[in-house]
Symmetry: C2
Subunit: 220 residues, 2 copies
Amino acid sequence: MSNAVDIRTLEPVSEDPLAPVSRQERKQRTRQALLDTALDLLADRPFATLSLREVAKGAGLVPTAFYRHFASMEELGVALVEEATRTLRGMMRSARTDPDTYQGMISASVATVHQFVRANEDHFRFLTRERYGGGPLARSIAVELRMFSGDLAIDLARFAPLRAWSTEDLHMLADLIVSVMITTTVELLEARPGEDAKITATAEKRLRLILLGIPQWKTS
Amino acid sequence: MSNAVDIRTLEPVSEDPLAPVSRQERKQRTRQALLDTALDLLADRPFATLSLREVAKGAGLVPTAFYRHFASMEELGVALVEEATRTLRGMMRSARTDPDTYQGMISASVATVHQFVRANEDHFRFLTRERYGGGPLARSIAVELRMFSGDLAIDLARFAPLRAWSTEDLHMLADLIVSVMITTTVELLEARPGEDAKITATAEKRLRLILLGIPQWKTS
DNA sequence: GATTACAGTGAACGACTGTACACTCAACAG
DNA sequence: CTGTTGAGTGTACAGTCGTTCACTGTAATC
């Protein structure tokens, strides 16, 4: 009767409490343990300060066993980006259920961001940290965000007041909206308990102000 | 005839080519050398990965001599925030020379940001990196940016269409503008040569779109 | 001119880092 | 049942790290 759903993939959670633990399943499990402890350790420090040894220890492994799963810490970082990115794509997909009014679209989008950030704080903290952290991960995250913004631009093009806009202007608008969402995400992650409502309300205001300018815009 | 000006402080540069090198002047000089090499090393990595030893070595010092100037790397980080913050304040002051049209204000502001970022890439890279990097520096940078945004809100309040706005809405608008400026800064720092014009043009568009919404806004 | 203050030196420490290598032992294929 | 594969172990090594301590030499002070 539970019908549990993974909020990241929106796929049903298969509950298999006592699996026969095949060989590759075990491997995948400790691999996930490595990713999880890395994400835990990343709660309050940048990725570049993680050491292979402490990640291995956190996963209950001896340092050398780490190499059975990743050739280096950087490779683990890439896997982490992929994992967090999957969450991000899940959010994007979930936000695409479009109400037909501006106001409805705004509040639904902000609510989706709020829900996903709270349900996956680790992932979003990792993404926002490393996006600007300057490591080698920054670039791949930037690429992912650009994709995000590109998809949003396509969605926006369907709205009547935006049909006549040049694609360049549509991307400008999409980037602007994405940057508001990123700002909101960071604010949520830094918020003290109880401040969520205020943050989402402000985010909605920012989006509403931007959308108010749309009818006045003369596209090039 | 040169009338050279320090772009960070807007104060005249005193040219004293062969000073008699007093004792405390020497000290201040090596202190600055520590800050400078730290900033250099920060070009492509987060602050948390800097080691005391390499900063000392870069400044031509033995590791233990570092302690004559800073009690720890974190203290150096704080000094770095102060230095970069001085640049930021210089930019803010420089941007306050307000033309009286929206369009003039927008292009002048974007031009100022562009000019300051290009002239002090190290400082702005450091600020944007560490703002979201999650270290102990993030908070003090956040405080500084909030001040920045607060000052901007005050300036905005002088504009006729914004006189009736609630202070809360003014802050919302100021934050929005600041986040556009931060986004633009990051884009400039990541830009390949020759892309500057496109980036500043996009930044102006984003600001113009936001300002177009102002007359339609119903403040609360 | 004698004395002090102090920026910078050099050796040494214990802790931690990534990585190499030879190993164990249980799941798998034949 | 037998042989192989491979995830995980244990030891070891060479570097780097922050920090300690006793020191040197010179500018500043009296």
